[in-house]
């Protein structure tokens, strides 16, 4: 329980810090880079390194490559839909979320790593 609480606090702080960077920077396309900052990864891995060996983190890193490919596809599609759709940003970005799951888990199943 304590570990979850620590993860929650550190994660909240790191994600908020990157969000503030995205808020203050211009132009918007540059600020958007911070939307894909490794905020959750930094917060999570800082704790994982204290509890697990490097080989465990390396395995997480391999899967994170697949997750990042899923994120890239998701962000691209969400951006295209935002330009064309009549719906609001929240609806569009949530509706596109299955893309992340499909690409990420698809890569994991295709290229292995389910051990």
């Amino acid at each position: 329980m304590t570990e979850i609480l620590i993860r929650f606090l550190i994660g909240g702080l790191v994600v908020s810090a990157f969000s503030v960077c995205g808020d203050v920077l211009r132009p918007k396309s540059f600020a958007g880079l911070f939307g894909a900052a490794p905020s959750v990864a930094l917060a999570s891995l800082a704790l994982t390194f204290t509890q697990r060996p490097g080989s465990y983190v390396a395995l997480e890193g391999r899967s994170m490559v697949f997750g990042a490919i899923g994120f890239l596809t998701y962000a691209y599609v969400a951006g295209q839909l935002l330009k064309r759709s009549q719906s609001g940003a929240l609806v569009v970005t949530v509706a596109a979320m299955p893309i992340w799951f499909g690409i990420s888990f698809g890569c994991l199943f295709m290229f292995g790593g389910m051990n």
């Binding site: 929650f8 994600v15 939307g35 894909a36 891995l45 997480e60 994170m64 899923g70 979320m97 389910m114």
Partner: protein
């Protein structure tokens, strides 16, 4: 295009919006840890690149742009969505950096000091994301010029 810092935009964000980001970020980090504990690092690792705060951030950007336009008596719906789309485009480029971050972890996490690995991985994200943004900034202009000359 110049990169600028505009601190005035901080005052546009309401306290509950800051709280929402903290909540989303904290929850996603906690859930990523729980998934890794339950299903192992292969599945848990995917969630280190989960677009946790992306929908909330896109919604906030849209709302801010709409509010700005509403303040001068105009409808900012279209502009709000365009701003969110530009942010998504930036995130797409940032994902190239995220792939670099993950590759560094994958190849070097086993056998190097954790602080060094996280530092190098983060530097890789920043470098690749910034380079991708710079290339994208110059790409269309160069192509237009070549077409014009040709």
């Amino acid at each position: 295009m110049l990169i600028e810092v505009d601190a005035s935009s901080l005052s546009e964000t309401k306290p509950h919006e800051y709280a929402l980001r903290f909540l989303f970020g904290g929850t996603c980090t906690a859930i990523a840890g729980l998934i890794a504990n339950r299903y192992g690092p292969a599945v848990g690792g995917l969630f280190l690149a989960f677009p946790a705060i992306f929908p909330a951030a896109a919604s906030l950007i849209q709302d801010h742009e709409k509010r700005r336009k509403a303040a001068i008596g105009k409808d900012g719906s279209r502009r709000g969505k365009n701003a969110a789309a530009l942010d998504a485009f930036g995130a797409t480029l940032g994902c190239l950096g995220l792939i670099a971050f993950a590759l560094v972890l994958w190849k070097f996490a086993d056998g190097f000091p954790p602080v060094a690995i996280l530092g190098i991985a983060f530097a890789s994200w920043a470098l690749i994301a910034f380079a991708a943004w710079l290339v994208r900034q110059h790409w269309p202009r160069r192509r237009r010029r070549q077409t014009h000359n040709g």
